[in-house]
């Protein structure tokens, strides 16, 4: 019987380092990993700690430079054919071994499906504390305690959470909460080859296929541009904006009725109920049966020529104006302002 659960290693054994799990997509580091390096750099500088990136994959050595350019002092690289695709079996094993070898004080990852899949499991294996989908991370320099800000209850409550006695201090961080620094190609860092022993028989899960960008699934869209009667069928214009935002387009009932767009894109009580981060609602007057379909959107931007449109009551940002003028201007502004790619 135990008095209190203990992590596999404690504060006395930790190395003063923040480790960032570097997820990669299609031969690039995923943006949230770079955001974590940027923020991790600030925390490490403030406390005089080391910032380490942990990179797993197959033939991904070139990505170490990108990690260093964004702030890593060291990159631990585990390169193996069986690490080409994420599976909990291989990644779980390798990341666990690396953590037990490096014993970092903190281990953080993006709150992506894979990041959460991985850390949720590793935290139990390590008997460590884990905070999830954090919206901020602070490091108390004197104590070395990582403080995570998380939201609960549908975003209504903010909580600060720490794991003062267990190591590593683990967190997954919501993509997009930290800004991305410019890459600094002159930065120097160490690359540590982390040798792994993996064999096929360790693989219990098999990734059969990965499909990105097929089919219409508005319930999953994070950015949605929605057109109503007021846009007079100009969904091309909305599509351009949606593309600039990496999002998708939806509609209210009238344009669907008029045949401008398919019924599968109808949002509302009798259509799709969606929960995007942002809904940009153009030329929609705002009947209740539509509003139900976007009530869970985090942010709603409404554009309508009628200042009395009920839609504005459901919006965070209200623009009285013609979508035919504002939407193209916005698309233009977003295309211009796009941060040059890393």
């Amino acid at each position: 019987m135990t008095e209190r659960v203990e992590s596999l290693y404690g504060i006395d054994e930790e190395s003063k380092a923040i480790w960032v799990f570097l997820g990669q997509i299609g031969g690039n580091l995923e943006p949230v990993s770079l955001e974590l390096l940027t923020h991790g750099r600030q925390l490490a500088d403030q406390a005089g700690w080391t910032l380490v990136g942990l990179l797993l994959g197959h033939e991904v050595g070139h990505l170490t430079e990108q990690a260093i350019a964004h702030g890593a002092d060291e990159v631990w690289l585990a390169d193996h054919p069986l690490l080409e695709e994420y599976t909990i079996d291989t990644y779980g094993r390798v990341v666990f071994d690396a953590i037990m070898e490096g014993k970092p004080s903190a281990f953080i990852a993006g709150a992506t499906p894979n990041g959460r899949d991985l850390l949720g499991r590793l935290a139990v294996r390590l008997r460590a504390g884990l905070t999830a989908d954090c919206t901020d991370l602070k490091l108390v320099t004197e104590t070395g305690i990582l403080i995570s800000e998380v939201t609960g209850f549908g975003g209504g409550v903010l909580a600060l959470i720490e794991a003062p006695t267990h190591r590593p201090q683990m967190a997954t961080v919501r993509p997009g909460v930290f800004p991305l620094s410019e890459a600094d190609a002159s930065r120097k860092g160490r690359i540590i080859d982390f040798q792994v022993l993996l064999s096929e028989d360790m693989l219990k899960t098999e990734v059969v296929e990965t499909v990105v960008g097929a089919g219409v699934d508005l319930t999953q869209a994070e950015m949605l541009v929605i057109g109503g009667r007021g846009i007079e069928g100009d969904f091309e214009m909305l599509r351009e904006l949606a593309d600039a935002l990496g999002g998708d387009i939806g509609a209210t009932r009238p344009p669907v009725d008029d045949g401008f767009i398919k019924r599968e894109r109808q949002i509302g009580q009798t259509g799709v109920v969606c929960r995007p981060k942002v809904a940009i609602v153009c030329g929609v007057s705002g009947a209740f049966h539509f509003a139900v379909g976007i009530q869970d959107a985090e942010t709603v931007i409404a554009i309508n020529t009628d200042p009395e449109a009920p839609m504005f009551e459901f919006a965070d940002y209200c623009i009285v104006g013609d979508a035919a003028q504002i939407v193209p201007a916005l698309t233009h502004a977003l295309t211009l302002e796009k941060v040059p790619s890393v």
């Binding site: 499906p113 209850f153 600060l160």
Partner: protein, 265 residues
């Protein structure tokens, strides 16, 4: 017909919009909040029921929480689950995900020989999404998270899950036993079958297990079993729509909106 043994983990949560922070005590004020089944756990139960409808088997609902959960959990029976286990003990209080997953895993182990464990992707109160992989680790079995569709190849005894990933999906195969975390809104939970309803809400339908029943290590449950502590609480900015009007020329408005959007992309 195979004899699959299925467990669904479910939780009762306060209605999110009714929970606040008491400004004086800085504690959560959930006393007066109405409760409901965690919405995503309803998706998990629906996926399990659909799985059972197609491949046979039985479904047990497992929940960890205070005794009042027993007023809500029978909903699961009325939807078609066979039995409910409520893991309830004062010593389970104050559990974070490490202690919670330990406790749930003990309950599942006590049920025994479980083939599939369905969990909601996350709860609306804690929103950690860590419970499903945590349970899988304690039980040392496979996991597929963020699943929106699940099939079973009876010959190979493998499940095939479709995972939601940013901008698309991934198909993953894995043998049983397995923990499945079910993506929010991936199905429409069936309504209760009223031929089962009054049976479902009879008291004796629920088996309650405490620390001793589970032979739990007291250092691994509740507060002692939880590495994390909450050191601060705040009411988040109001969720009411801001209704802020933005004026200007189309270009000025576009620039302002671009700034707002970039903060949220």
């Amino acid at each position: 017909m195979s004899d699959l043994k299925i467990v669904v983990c479910m939780k009762v949560v306060p209605k999110p919009e009714e929970v606040g922070v008491d400004k004086e005590t800085m504690r959560l004020d959930r006393e007066n909040a109405r409760s409901e089944m965690n919405p995503t756990d309803m998706n998990a139960l629906e996926m399990a029921l659909d799985f059972k409808d197609r491949y046979g088997g039985s479904i047990d609902v497992v929940s960890m929480g205070p005794p009042f959960f027993s007023h809500f959990l029978p909903v699961g029976l009325a939807m078609g689950a066979n039995h409910i286990y409520l893991l309830s003990d004062r010593d389970f209080g104050g559990a974070d995900t490490l202690a919670t997953t330990y406790t749930l895993a003990l309950g599942i182990r006590k049920i025994g020989d479980v083939d599939l464990i369905f969990c909601g992707e996350e709860s609306s109160d804690g929103a950690t999404g860590q419970v499903p992989p945590g349970i899988a680790e304690w039980l040392d079995i496979n996991q597929i998270t963020m699943v929106n569709r699940l099939d079973y190849d009876t010959e190979r005894e493998m499940v095939r899950g479709q995972r939601e990933i940013p901008g698309g999906h991934q198909i993953v195969d894995t043998p049983l036993p397995v923990v499945i975390s079910v993506a929010t809104a991936s199905n429409e939970p069936r309504f209760m079958d009223y031929r089962l309803k009054s049976w479902a809400f009879e008291d004796e339908r629920i088996t309650v297990w405490n620390v001793d029943d589970l032979k739990a290590d007291p250092g691994y449950v509740g507060e002692p079993g939880s590495p994390t502590i909450v050191s601060g609480l705040e009411q988040a900015p109001s969720r009411e729509r801001r209704m802020e009007f933005i004026d200007g020329t189309p270009d000025e408005i576009a620039l302002r909106l671009a700034g707002i959007l970039e903060d949220r992309m």
